[in-house]
Symmetry: C2
Subunit: 455 residues, 2 copies
């Protein structure tokens, strides 16, 4: 009865540097292109949107970037985060696999997103920015940025997908509590929003539309910048504090993962826990399997194509090299709103293309079945996004049992489900429906693209 | 920039014993009385409701009770909980006071309540109990017991005050996720419920009615017991893990509190953080001020009387020595549902009577103003119950500033407000109303009592 359940670290063990995997990639990520000329864009094109330090980080090839003291101070509010051994789940599955999870839901915003929201707000503050605009779907990112801007005294304006704004009012109230202003998107505050509303006054909105609105506003005003919660290189890099802490924790547990699993939306969750371990594969020839777990209803990594595509709906962003389903692809309204983005970031896409990482897709019912098993054995009620990782872990643990081998599995429990109880209720009352996407739908969406292919 | 924000402990530092303050009280708590005969009741009267080990703890005068290994293993899911120095709040208040908070919201149920739910479920399991009934108001206790019963595979039946059942559906869904069954109270499943419904089919319910229902069911069936989330001696004792950890953490910080503040409902929150420190007052002559912070709308400690009263509405519980507003007192529907109980437990009441602790009352608007200040400086959004402690801490910190003295203040941040965002929204939109209770209302409620006075 003296098993170690929780592996904790002290504040002194918060990482001092972020890890930039670009330095160690055999094939570097392809550059963003200008949407009109299709020529690679320079840092100056991004200057209206982001502070210079974030642009520098976006294009950096240094393997390590120092975390500012002020950011580490604020990380202390919830970091280092705990790692747990899932004894309860292991027992239920009767598996020889050892299962560990890193729990990012202890942040005030309830997910891993503040790991990048804090440094983004910090660099904006350093460069005199007064207001930051952003979009949010399910609300995790909008909450995280509101929290960070609240601490720095920066005005925060969040464009929240109308369907979520109406359906998840508590997330909006959370952002208000931290002092942010939240608008339903499409709104009448931007050309992008007005254009959509003129065609469809009842538009439920989408992440792509909300991005267009937030970007448009940032470009109009010198004191306003834009912040993105995933996809971009600097965002992924900020999240590597998760994996760097995890390495220290696994060492303390006297163990090391054979398999790492993380939910996959735009890539920051997966990169956060995975890249510091992947570094050992790239630089030391280790063979840790890194699995990105996405939804079957938005299967960009498993059924998308690798080509240039827009980051938003209205074409206000550069073209990015992505595994994509097409920027007009509208995924079914699954509860894991954070995984409904049409494309994957440039780094993750290149790694997948090069066979250095794996991807799996999981349907919604399997996810919630896994989430309930987890809640009743480990206690924590996971976010719907996290359930994609848990379902994938259960698959791998069952495989280990069938094969009679012990595997060590680590996954990122990226957030709690306190704002998603309605989804659990639907599942428990048998009302949760599955959303399958047909090959015809994917092909139709991809056929609309006229952006450059990648050899 | 190397200030320690968070003081953490390792699993090995989870306390091995609970502290029973009864051993050190100069005047012991008065015994419960039979509601009919007004004679002190023996342990056998409680046997239909509680497992024998909990009854033994209820009447124990030993200063220390060993925490079973199995309970300590499950405490590891969230314990030890972190302690934080509130640098952000201190800076906002510009106070010479040093403010610390112990954060109990990291438990899966989001509050301190699992500290007693886990051992209560454990002892029931040990004695072969198959089903536990309980009541819940705002839902914190029902969630905690559902979580604990889920881990032990015990059936859990929660009677949730109708007004909360309708108004806080997410709390109900949380309990269902852990496998519990939740009924709105009054229900048609008990004589107590049917009796109320026959007089008023639209009754919004109350904690007193829900207790009557849960107790009635437990008394009918040998395999069913009842569990209470506050008030009773054993419940308060289980919560002392909070204060025992806090002492170790304060020692690590090289500091010790002059003032301790906790929200006050039935007493378990306050006892949990306060009693281990109060022990130093009782046994070593220390002078730490322990302040219970309750709502002005349910001011049992500041405006109630000390006498015997019933624990429930229908008279199914023994008579308990309480500071009470009368068991028929219906407090205004403030958002801090956990603080709406009419009476205080026997131990806390005796300590207040003997001048060994203090009490303050705070109104709802002052509480939410304090909660918003806290969220925007420290990040965490507090539960409405916790805001009563924060408002009181701000009063004491401001007093320290006026007096030009440095004080060390520690408070119990007993839970997060993720299920209370509607309350913050009401406050921010100016719709939150104050509920003052008149002296006439209190006197009218107390005049109905025909229970024994206490000299």
């Amino acid at each position: 009865m003296t098993n170690q359940k929780k592996i904790t670290l002290t504040e002194a063990e918060i990482p001092e540097k972020w890890y930039n995997i670009v330095a160690d990639m055999p094939n570097k990520p392809l550059p963003p292109l200008h949407p009109g000329t299709h020529e690679p864009i320079g840092p100056e094109m991004l200057a209206p949107l982001f502070p210079m330090e974030l642009i520098r980080q976006e294009v950096s090839t240094d393997p390590w970037v120092t975390i500012p003291d002020e950011v580490r101070e604020l990380y202390k509010i919830w970091r280092p985060t705990p790692m747990f051994r899932a004894y309860g789940l292991e027992k239920l599955l009767d598996t020889p696999a050892k299962i560990y999870y890193k729990y990012e839901g202890v942040s005030p915003a309830g997910s891993h997103k503040p790991n990048t929201a804090i440094p983004q707000a910090y660099y904006n503050k350093q460069e005199g920015v007064k207001r930051i605009t952003t979009e949010t779907g399910a609300g995790q990112w909008g909450s995280a940025l509101s929290f960070a801007c609240g601490l720095f005294g920066i005005e925060c304006e969040v464009y929240m997908v109308r369907a979520s704004y109406d359906g998840k009012p508590y997330r909006k109230m959370m952002m208000n509590t931290w002092g942010a202003t939240v608008y339903p998107s499409p709104s009448d505050r931007t050309n992008a929003g007005r254009s959509i509303l003129s065609q469809n006054p009842d538009s439920p909105g989408s992440l792509g539309i909300a991005i267009s609105e937030a970007v448009e506003l940032a470009m109009q005003d010198d004191h306003t910048k834009y912040a993105l919660g995933s996809v971009l290189n600097h965002v992924l890099m900020h999240q590597t504090v998760i994996g760097l802490e995890s390495i220290t924790q696994m060492e303390k547990a006297g163990d090391m993962p054979d398999i790492i699993v993380a939910p996959f939306g735009g890539g920051s969750n997966f990169a956060g826990i995975g890249f510091p371990f992947l570094r050992h594969n790239l630089t030391e020839g280790k063979k840790i399997r890194c699995i990105a777990a996405g939804p079957t209803s938005c299967p960009k990594l498993t059924r998308g194509v690798f080509r240039y595509d827009l980051g938003d709906t209205m074409g206000m962003t550069p073209l990015l090299p992505m595994y994509t389903l097409g920027h007009n692809f509208i995924p079914a309204p699954i509860h894991a709103g954070g995984l409904r983005y049409h494309g994957a970031g440039a780094i993750v896409s290149q790694l997948l293309k090069d066979g250095l990482i794996e991807a799996q897709s999981v349907n919604q019912l399997e996810c919630f079945e896994a989430g309930i098993k987890f809640a009743r054995t480990e206690g924590i009620i996971p976010a719907p996004e996290a359930n994609h990782a848990i379902a994938t872990v259960i698959r791998e643990a069952n495989r280990a049992k069938e094969e009679g081998v012990s595997k060590t599995i680590l996954f990122n429990l990226c957030g709690h489900g306190h704002f998603d109880m309605g989804a659990y209720d639907q599942y428990l009352s048998g009302k949760l429906v599955e959303h399958e996407v047909t090959q015809a739908e994917i092909l139709e969406s991809l056929a609309e693209l006229d952006t450059p292919l990648i050899a």
